[in-house]
């Protein structure tokens, strides 16, 4: 770890600077901005956790909402009995254990079957929990009695998000990260070259799920009450997946890049025009597959490099304009290629 850090001093310095700046933000920002950032961090952390497993292994999971909801319920049940930090930790552990069981039984399913299974899993957990609450507890809602300020939630989520991004970046540079990418390239080959694919998959699936559960638990502190349809809302699964793919699941910072525009868009549209947001999400899916297979991150990286090497157009603001211009050009070229039938 240390060696990795000293080898990339500029990245480390920039990350530390950004972390400090963001941590101090609530001192100057309004309550609305703090709330917006809370939602943003939640999305970034979820998308990074999703990409940590699904991006490298290419097991496309739609179970984000399931683990997120498990975290919410774990907190709602635990926070009455233990202090809140312990309840948060408990939520992460519960998420880890649930994912361990799910992973052991399902990660031999490949491709579409895994997608459909994870989608069904969310629905199954949702329905069973709902039934349990009605049948056994005779109520569909649980109240959250935590008295936690928005600023503490902000700082907690910021820490979770940073740890997730840095952790995901660190793991991608270890043997485990390499094993995950090998599984994504060709699982049979990976197994034959000596990768313990089951162990790598299950452990990383569970780690990613524990982050999702933790994010759910922290967000639950803001809600006055919860029920199964709040906790297990499928929109989370889809928005997280799209954030990660839009940003670029191949880089640790990619999902964060993708989450920002989607959170802003949903903030702008979801309240007043929820259906238009779903249309925009759908178009995002289509655009990614046809025009941005690797996401935005590789584009930014490529243009940053060419700008750093002094080859970019000087007349455009660097970093932003050249990617847009060349993206349009590449998109047009691809469009022409696609429809030549």
């Amino acid at each position: 770890m240390l060696e990795l850090l000293t080898r990339n001093p500029r990245i480390v310095a920039l990350t530390a600077l950004a972390a400090v700046a963001l941590a101090l933000l609530p001192l100057v920002a309004s309550g609305y901005v703090v709330s917006l950032f809370i939602v943003l961090y939640a999305n970034v952390a979820l998308a990074t956790a999703w990409a940590f497993f699904s991006g490298s292994t290419r097991y496309i999971s739609l179970a984000t909402a399931a683990f997120f909801g498990v975290g919410i319920y774990a907190l709602a049940i635990l926070h009455v009995h233990v202090p809140i930090p312990l309840a948060l930790l408990g939520a992460a552990v519960v998420g880890f254990l649930v994912a361990l069981v799910v992973g052991l039984s399902t990660l031999r399913l490949r491709g579409v079957y895994f997608v459909v299974f994870t989608f069904g899993l969310t629905e199954l957990v949702h329905q069973v929990l709902n039934w349990w609450e009605i049948k056994v507890n005779r109520t569909v809602t649980r109240y959250i009695f935590a008295d936690v300020s928005n600023v503490s939630i902000y700082e907690t989520l910021l820490a979770v998000t940073l740890v997730t991004i840095v952790g995901s970046w660190y793991v991608s540079r270890t043997r485990l990260g390499f094993a995950l990418r090998a599984i994504g390239e060709d699982e049979t080959v990976a197994r034959h070259t000596g990768v313990n694919t089951t162990l790598a998959k299950v452990v990383c699936f569970a780690i990613s799920a524990s982050v999702m559960a933790l994010v759910g638990a922290v967000l639950a502190l803001r809600y006055p009450y919860i029920d199964a349809s709040i906790a297990f809302n499928n929109t989370w699964s889809f928005q997280v997946l799209i954030s990660a793919l839009l940003g670029g699941p191949g880089r640790a910072w990619g999902p964060a890049v993708g989450a920002i525009p989607l959170v802003l868009l949903s903030e702008y549209l979801a309240g007043t025009f929820p259906h238009h947001f779903s249309i925009a999400l759908g178009l995002c899916f289509v655009v990614i597959v046809y025009f941005l297979p690797g996401g935005i991150a590789p584009l930014i990286e490529r243009h940053y490099r060419s700008w750093a090497a002094g080859r970019a157009l000087v007349t455009w603001p660097p970093l932003v304009a050249p990617p847009v211009a060349s993206w349009l050009k590449a998109g047009l070229a691809r469009l022409n290629a696609l429809w030549r039938i």
Binding site: G111, Q127, N130, I134, I279, C284, V286, V289, I341
Partner: protein, 289 residues
């Protein structure tokens, strides 16, 4: 006796499940495109029937003359213009599946969003043939019976076409191995496009038949996509006769299970059964291992 009525209800329900899944199995089995926007065409068929009754005061069956050709044409276009580029660039089926899942999820969001914007999220429904018909001493609703008979008819017709025509032979060849099929002179692209379009047309037809006895909203598509997918995976991809049988199994298990345990658990029973099949026999119940 009550159990028999529940069983019969499950059988009728299962027939419609089979009907809904038939088209998806054509699309995934023959054309190898897992269309997750499938349920949107089901929703389209249901809304076409609703508008036929509500605006023009006509028999909902007449809506089939509009909705089926439109769904056929739209699915043909989707295959030719949206799926073909993906098929061409994909190195293998897994990569294709990943792309297709994303694009068709996108289509599903777009179509559902447009439908919700234009037709609002209100619950729709109309009454058609809602009288009781005695069957073996039990009473069943005529519209459910109609949907069941429609399922049997379409399933049988599809089976006969696949079994006894040259066109069906070509489709079966593509199902087994597209490369080998093209080697013996089957125009794989043309026939896959037709199978995909026919699958979409079946979705619209089943939407019309089912809309006679359910109330629905513009957001109903995804629920039926999932149900169809469950049935297809239970049956085995590319198994037409298996589809109806798997639909019947699912319908009966759901009804009887819901009756014995708790009606609120039917969706959970659905998914539970589906997961069991996935884990125990991922290639489907009606395939030779």
């Amino acid at each position: 006796m009550i159990l028999f009525e529940v069983f019969l209800g499950g059988l009728l329900l299962g027939g419609t499940y089979g009907l809904i899944a038939l088209g998806l199995n054509l699309q995934y089995g023959v054309a190898r495109i897992l269309n997750l926007s499938y349920g949107e065409f089901f929703m389209g068929g249901a809304f076409a029937a609703f508008f036929t009754v509500f605006l023009w005061k006509l028999n909902p069956l007449l809506s089939l003359f509009i909705s089926v050709p439109i769904a056929f044409a739209m699915n043909w276009l989707i295959y030719q213009y949206l799926m073909m580029p993906l098929i061409r660039r994909a190195p293998d089926q897994d990569a294709l599946d990943a792309d297709v899942v994303l694009v068709t999820f996108g289509l599903f969001f777009v179509v559902q969003g447009l439908a919700l914007v234009n037709w609002s999220g209100e619950l729709r429904g109309y009454s058609f043939l809602s009288t009781g018909v005695p069957v073996f001493g039990a009473t069943v609703a005529a519209n459910r019976l109609l949907a069941f008979l429609g399922a049997c008819f379409l399933g049988l017709a599809l089976f006969l076409v696949l079994r006894y025509t040259r066109f069906g032979g070509a489709l079966r060849a593509i199902t087994i191995d597209p490369v080998a099929a093209s080697l013996v002179g089957v125009d794989v692209r043309k026939f896959s496009a037709l199978a995909f379009a026919a699958g979409g047309a079946l979705a619209a037809a089943s939407g019309m038949l089912v809309s006679t006895f359910i109330s629905f909203t513009a957001a109903i598509g995804v629920e039926y996509t999932l149900k169809a997918l469950i049935v297809v995976i239970m049956a085995g991809v590319g198994r037409v006769t298996g589809t109806l049988a798997a639909g019947l199994v699912l319908g009966v298990v759901e009804s009887v299970g819901g009756y014995l345990l708790d009606p609120a658990l039917t969706i959970a029973i659905n998914f539970g059964l589906f997961m069991l099949v996935l884990l125990w026999r991922p290639t489907g119940l009606f395939t030779r291992a």
